[in-house]
Symmetry: C2
Subunit: 153 residues, 2 copies
DNA sequence: CATTGATCTCAACCTTACTTCAGGTCTCAA
DNA sequence: TTGAGACCTGAAGTAAGGTTGAGATCAATG
């Protein structure tokens, strides 16, 4: 018997319990399982039984989703933990620090967009070639002089 | 003849031109048209011809999408303009001010999430009932005392 | 006139993240 | 033991935002 085996059946959670306590639907649990984000064992009657840490796993998934991380990437991150274990405090520290970085980038790019938008709200914008909103990646000046994207109106 | 009729055919743009100059694929133009976000007239040979302001319209659509506004809502906003006209400077001011508000809310909620995450990175978090990350909407205390969502581990 | 590239329509497909449905099985309290 | 409610599987559906393909026509150039 492995030490990592699913916890005593006595303490196992049914799908309904996990759904109620984690706030995700049973169908979502099936879905996560198919994608390899969570795992279960089966009862004698082929019903799923979850060990307690599925709750923590689902919590991690939900937080990551709020951050905007796609399930596939969440799955990859979880899969990289040794023995497919549920993140412990140390793992969580690493994961969350990583995702916090992603989040920061998202916030920054939205903030930049907001600043550009502010600069454009009053300027009769979207009609001017130089508008940074319209040309966010500075993808201009490839075919010589003259208007890019839009002509002056 | 209405003053709002599509501009002289002489100045009309072909789908390819619009695609090149706006940066969206021809298939996307078709898609936007089906959704009612842009319009076209047809040449004698049944090909689409766009009046110049489609470029501005597409620019508005792209900015709104960057902000995170779904197409359906963009469509609704554009449809509310008189005569289905393309936003002029004044319209743009109103639209962008509105969307800027949405953007601000998105930034705020992400920033709040980030702050919660910061508070949780070091705390061995996700194992504590009171964790604000796990219980973002403060949906607790509905079934008396004891653990919510997750038990202490 | 012929060819090549641009367009046309409509249907089908794609991705993400799930939900819903149908038909059948388990579990558990009374 | 029995009935209600929970659970099972696999397939199909949903929503957003498009893309891809097939088969046919247009438009412009040599």
């Amino acid at each position: 018997m492995s030490k990592i085996a699913v916890a005593d059946i006595g303490k196992a959670l049914t799908p309904g319990e996990v759904a109620r306590r984690s706030g995700v639907a049973v169908s979502a649990l099936h879905f996560y399982e198919k994608k390899g984000l969570i795992h279960s064992v089966r009862s004698s009657g082929n019903q799923r039984r979850y060990s307690r840490d599925v709750l923590r796993r689902v919590a991690v998934i939900k937080v990551a989703q709020r951050i905007g991380i796609p399930l596939a990437e969440i799955g990859r991150a979880l899969a990289e933990l040794p023995d497919g274990r549920t993140p412990n405090a140390h793992d969580w520290k690493r994961l969350s620090a990583h995702w916090r970085h992603d989040l920061d980038e998202r916030i920054q790019s939205l903030t930049q967009l907001r600043d550009q938008l502010d600069g454009c709200i009053g300027c009769g914008c979207l009609s001017i070639n130089a508008c940074r909103l319209r040309n966010p990646l500075d993808e201009l000046s490839e075919d010589g002089p003259g208007p890019r994207l839009l002509e002056p109106e």
